[in-house]
């Protein structure tokens, strides 16, 4: 994998998750999770369904408040700040399902993302490349929910990208995509990393994609980190394979 140099000025984008616990009443989703995502890092988070991956994204992006622990962005404690504030600070997520302003055109979707994130018309120049690669350039006037599923997901990623995030949280970006479309996710992540210098956290079930993209992965099971490290090492560990047995057969040592 090519690890292009990350742009300067991205230092403020370090995300630290410190001893974060989330409970819903008596149900413990995860406990004392800690990790750091430096600018330019790509961290894969895997685990069986129900391991708490999406909840982790919800807690980091401010949708849910952690029961205890801190979220620190660029040295500032941002725990408990609302979603829009964190988004303006550069902590932006994508969604597992297709998520666009459905009746609006592709152009209108992008224009809103630029306006809401406080961007300017120059933001359009920065996404020209991605629009071309995703074959969205010629569909700018199409209604977003009339696009094929794969393109709707790509539009979702583009909307996050055009806000110029410092940390991108991607919730199963490849879910529901076919083989050829999945490489677009690779493209997207590498492009975001090299042009914005942002840290990227990817929750994903596609192990091939995780292997290709992530120099470092983290395995969540029942709310604990059971393994951390390079994909080749982690994915061959017996406890990791056990955690996935029955959940998916995509883990092959």
């Amino acid at each position: 994998m090519t690890q292009a140099a990350i742009p300067a000025g991205a230092q403020a984008g370090e995300l630290r998750v410190e001893n974060v616990t989330k409970r819903f009443g008596g149900l413990k989703v995860f406990e004392n999770l800690s990790f750091t995502l430096a600018p330019g890092d790509i961290l894969g988070v895997i685990g069986p369904n129900g391991a708490g991956k999406t909840t982790l994204i919800n807690v980091i992006c401010g949708k849910l408040a952690p029961t205890s622990g801190r979220i620190v962005l660029g040295g500032r404690d941002v725990t408990g700040k609302p979603v829009h504030t964190l988004s303006r600070m550069g902590l932006v997520r994508s969604f597992q399902q297709t998520n666009t302003f459905r009746p609006a055109s592709v152009r209108e979707n992008i224009s809103r993302a630029i306006r809401f994130s406080g961007g300017s018309d120059e933001s359009w120049d920065r996404i020209e490349e991605l629009l071309r690669r995703f074959e969205l350039s010629l569909r700018l006037d199409d209604q977003s929910d009339k696009l094929p599923y794969g393109l709707q997901k790509m539009l979702g990623l583009l909307l996050a990208y055009v806000t110029s995030p410092r940390v991108l949280l991607l919730d199963e970006p490849a879910a529901g995509l076919e083989g050829r479309e999945r490489t677009r996710v690779d493209d997207f992540v590498q492009h975001a990393r090299s042009t914005l210098g942002c840290g990227v956290l990817i929750v994903e079930h596609d192990m091939d994609l995780i292997r290709r993209l992530c120099p470092c992965i983290m395995v969540l099971d029942a709310g604990r980190i059971i393994a951390e490290g390079a994909p080749a090492d982690v994915l061959s560990r017996k406890d990791v394979i056990d955690a996935y047995v029955g959940a998916t057969d995509e883990v092959a040592p």
Partner: protein, 342 residues
């Protein structure tokens, strides 16, 4: 690529321009006829349109409000009190007062209740109206209680006392045009914000939109417009009375908007005109009208989601001449979500 440069007409909105033009045309009515029945129906219609605009603004954000009569009462009583107790008769001051007082009440209130969604918000706005009527009944020293406030001095506009029916109607046209301009300005300027809240609040928030701020802005402006409608009502009757602002009348304003077409500013205008006219002509004011309006709402939301205006646009696009200029400017819209303006 990139954001398209839009013409001024596209930016202001075709439906918005047509609406303001249509309402301005209504200035003809007071001078064209002396018929008191026509004057009365026209007056009621203009009040209904102004009030329905506030329902329309809230529906832009997918919020259904039953609080219209509450803010109408606040605006109406503010004007009546200013006239009776303060001796204020200047039309400009009173108009401003009728907008600002309900808006000021709505700001902190909106901050609290706009956290609620869907049916909970609906319930709270309904209860709000109930509470307000109760407050009016229970504070006779201030509001006259069940007697209301009677004997307001006539409003004076630029030195001209607005006393006879014709002048009152012309004044109502002016206020309604102003209300249309305010509605158009707010809904067009915050078009992207409101539409995003309506279509996908979660996404809007995660892209950085401060959703509650725009909901409060919409709520405050809607309250102000309701207040202006309250002013018109009080000015027509020269009385502020709690029965004018009954909680159940909120159904009417919702019916005007939804039956007329909730997706276009023309909707409240068409809906109010038609339903107020029908209610007067068939003499079904009072207990029966709510039943009829309820039925019409049911028909509108089940069969013709775009209301009269939305359905008309849909039919025009489907069966109208192929060469015709398309005033909608959007293609591929699903049935019922027709929207006038680009």
């Amino acid at each position: 690529m990139r954001a398209r440069r839009r013409s001024i007409i596209a930016a202001v909105g075709v439906a918005e321009i047509v609406s303001v033009a249509l309402l301005t045309l209504a200035f003809v009515i007071p001078f064209a006829t002396d018929d008191p029945f026509t004057h009365s129906v026209a007056n009621q219609t203009l009040i209904a349109i102004t009030a329905a605009f506030s329902v329309y603004i809230m529906l832009r954000m997918d919020l259904l409000t039953f609080a219209v009569p509450a803010f109408m009462a606040i605006g109406g009583y503010a004007v009546a009190l200013a006239g009776l107790r303060g001796g204020v008769t200047d039309a400009v001051v009173l108009t401003a007062l009728s907008f600002v007082v309900p808006a000021l009440v709505a700001a902190p209130l909106g901050f609290l209740v706009l956290r609620l969604r869907g049916v909970y918000f609906v319930l709270v706005t309904f209860v709000l109206t109930e509470i307000l009527v109760l407050v009016i009944f229970e504070t006779p020293q201030l509001t006259g209680g069940s007697n209301g406030l009677v004997g307001m001095p006539p409003v004076v506009l630029f030195g001209l006392s607005i006393a006879d029916n014709r002048q009152v109607l012309a004044f109502a046209v002016g206020i309604t045009v102003l209300a249309a301009v305010i509605t158009a300005a707010v809904t067009r300027y915050f078009r992207q914000h409101f539409a995003s809240i309506e279509e996908n609040e979660v996404l809007a928030q995660s892209l950085g939109l401060v959703v509650w701020r725009y909901k409060v802005i919409g709520f405050v402006v809607a309250a102000g417009l309701s207040g202006m409608a309250g002013f018109l009502l009080v000015n027509m009757l020269l009385t502020a009375h709690p029965t004018s602002f009954s909680p159940i009348s909120s159904v009417n304003y919702i019916a005007y908007t939804i039956v007329g077409g909730p997706s276009s500013i023309l909707g409240p205008i068409v809906g109010s005109t038609l339903l107020v006219w029908a209610a007067n002509v068939f003499s079904i004011q009072g207990e029966y009208s709510q039943g009829l309006f309820g039925l019409l709402i049911m028909i509108a939301v089940t069969v013709a989601k775009g209301g009269i205006v939305g359905t008309a646009i849909l039919l025009w696009r489907r069966y109208g001449p192929a060469w015709s200029w398309n005033p909608v400017g959007r293609r591929g819209m699903p049935a019922g979500s027709a929207r006038v303006g680009p």
